[in-house]
């Protein structure tokens, strides 16, 4: 069936069965491959996008369930979002595969709580797995993006 979605501010119509997860519509039909597949069961967060500003797991969200919700993917963040700037300044990504989802979860957190505490960050980010273990820099970058730490902070120290 034809489904119209609001993705990154644009109305887009796709042909898809209504139980198709949003993830595969974004990736295969709309070519928005920044949103990743990692588990398919809402365990890893790699597929996180925003629906009206709230984080959702696109792998388990049928396209038909979205209604008129405004979807934002990593491609819709613009490239110079404070989180993206902080991510680059701190060289957060390793393999990078989880990072779209990490950034989208963090973006939702900052909407809710512009200056999140450590506990809030832990809580909001616990659903996003990073097998490369970039957690420490993800945490630091959220602090930087929210103006709670200087962007110059280099995480390593020399002897």
């Amino acid at each position: 069936m034809a489904i119209t979605l609001d993705v990154n501010g644009k109305p887009l119509t796709v042909e898809a069965a209504e139980d198709t997860p949003l993830l595969w519509v974004l990736r295969d039909e709309l070519g928005l491959t920044g949103t990743k597949y990692g588990c398919g069961i809402a365990q890893c967060g790699a597929c996180t996008v925003l629906a009206d500003g709230a984080p959702i797991r696109a792998c388990l969200t049928p396209v038909s369930a979205l209604g008129s919700a405004k979807i934002t993917t990593i491609e819709g963040l613009g490239g110079d979002h404070p989180l993206q700037q902080a991510w680059v300044a701190l060289d957060v990504p390793q393999c990078g595969y989880c990072q779209s989802g990490q950034i989208m979860s963090a973006a939702a957190l900052l909407e809710q709580s512009p200056k999140p505490t450590d506990e809030e960050i832990d809580g909001a980010m616990a659903g996003n797995i990073c097998r490369c273990g970039a957690y420490q820099r993800i945490h630091a970058a959220i602090k930087v993006a929210s103006g709670q730490a200087p962007a110059t902070a280099s995480p390593q120290t020399d002897a």
């Binding site: 809580g123 390593q156 120290t157």
Partner: protein, 733 residues
Amino acid sequence: MNAPIFRRAASAGEGVSRRQLIITATAVGGALMVGCSPTDLLAAGAEGETGPFGAFVRIAPDGAVTLVCKHIEFGQGSHAGLAAIVAEELDADWSKVAWEHAPANAKLYANGGLGAQLTGGSTAINNSWDQLRQAGAAARAMFVQAAASRWNVPAGEITVKDSVVSHAASGQSADFAALLADAAKVAPPAEPTLKDPTQFTLIGTDRVRRKDSLAKSTGQTRFTMDVQAENLLVAMVAHPPRFGAKVASFDATAAKAMPGVVEVYEIPTGVAVVANSTWAAKQGRDALSVNWDEAKAETRSSADIAQRFRDLAAGSAALEKGEEWQGFETKGEVAAQGGGLAIEVAYDFPYLAHATMEPMNCVAQVDGNTAKLTFASQGPTLDQLNVAKIVANLPGAIEIETLPAGGSFGRRANFQSDFVVECVQIARKVGGNRPVKLVWTREDDMAAGYYRPLVHHRVRVTTDAEGYPNTWTHRIVTQSIMKGAPFGGGGVDETAVEGAKGSPYLKATPHVDAQLLTPDAGVPVLWWRSVGATHTAYVMEHTIEQLARRAGQDPVAYRRALYEKAAAKRHLAVLDLAAEKAGWGEPAPEGWTRGVAVHESFGSVVAQVAEVKMENGEPRVGRVVTAIDCGTAISPNQIAAQMEGGTCYGLSAALYGQVTLTEGRVDQTNFDTYRVLRHNEAPKVETYIAAQPAGTHPTGVGEPGTPVIGPAVANALLALTGEAITAQPFVKV
């Protein structure tokens, strides 16, 4: 970062006889090497041309320098260090240096340490150091010579800085772009003069940062999963539920009726559904009904395998045909020594999945005897060889465009190229050069094997009057990773004993009897970030900790004494550095307990002091002070990143990681049952790099940060509870 378009090799396609192929395949084993090297044979049929600046350096008309990188980027960030080596010797403007993956060509891009094009063993920087310094220096010399000729001045008076070539006396200068045409005509010097390492201006500075952070923070990096192409088909495969089973029969009626499903094929590894989209492929695959022939399947539970390994190590189970103990360190006379028993302890380690964030996948197109692959190839030579056997062509003629990987940790390099071969089998059925993307779901990936082997250690140590080891008896029982390797083979599987073998603790022990037994099991096994050290570091460090406590000594002081006996200077230096930075000897912060561990792997030595407490019945790790000696530090920022990430990877395994089998079926299916470390459980790692004399050869970084945290945490818990921890994972589900 897109790989260059290389012309299809002239010899690809017709005319390649079966015989040539067999010769090539045999030569890999080192059997046939008359007049040409194995890499010559492996590269047969490959495009061999390189530009004027050699295989590794390309300079564009605008003067921009690109490193052609023979190592895959899968998160370790080695492209930064590798590009910096070139930029340093070339005196290129670092801000404009780029990199891209090399094409598959064993002759040009073999890993010096491994003899094949393969990223692994934390060797990227180590084996490229001399090669890339020379490549950079040669290119620099060509620019200098071009400028000297153009300006008619002595080459010795010319300087280069940030891609600008200058002659101070005459006041002339020109950038790489302006000199490029002339420089490209200069014959590259055979023995270019390298910089005095004390004059390095880029290497070792915080300016050496990875180049892909922006693309990876904006969703723009193109992974295999993201490959899209005209006519692309997506394939998913129904795999047998037990290792070693095969398809007996199947019914594809329901699968074929699914919208978007194009065809269903039987292939050697299962039944493949190809479809127009990922979701359609999954729907189709799930609708298949397959009967499996399990006559040759592994039907044991992992608990049975572990029990047999235990019994073998304890001497209470009989050896079967083909099983044989192999000594890997023997000295003195253990049996002749009297003395009281200090400690006898046995350790169990489970199978571990790599669980890369991006599950295994591959894109292949096959047309008759030609094959083009677009994917994250960690071992292009292995992959070419295995694909060549299927399409009956020369290995070098198999074209591979390497994409960055969403993690590997060893998984993407194996002797069978399992998922690559599967993809090519499907693409061959599809034929017509039509691209096929094989997608594994997380469940497929988790159940597919190639795990870190299940391992059992049994250690018996007697001590001298001061409490130091006098005899050390060590038995390791595990499946061999190297069995079935096209190179090496025979003798002790070093990957099973590395880290026990060569340990300074064994050096400091007068009488040693250490042996390995490698029984077979039907579960495919593979290297897993830090390989043997994943278990040997734990056994050595946790055993030493128990000995230190029995001797009533401080764990740092006890290790120091042994390192002095073994003349293990690097161990001593990083131990002292970590202890000092962690405030060892001063009380730990309220509520926390410290544990220390040290291990050498991949040429580097890492010491960690971890602060640990119990929280809700589980260990919680806070501050982790890490000291590393990795020779010359090229990118301190990325070394720290690897210590942070490697620590998380090792901690995840020690605390939670395990794959178990019940009657041959893998119990874990996804991240709900295969628990991994999460954000709120991550430690805070501080990295201190032990300074080395200028010019010291760099050593590994990607893996050495992984094996130390497990024992450091166990040693803290031992201090806290008085109990040794003899099995991983620590947290039982």
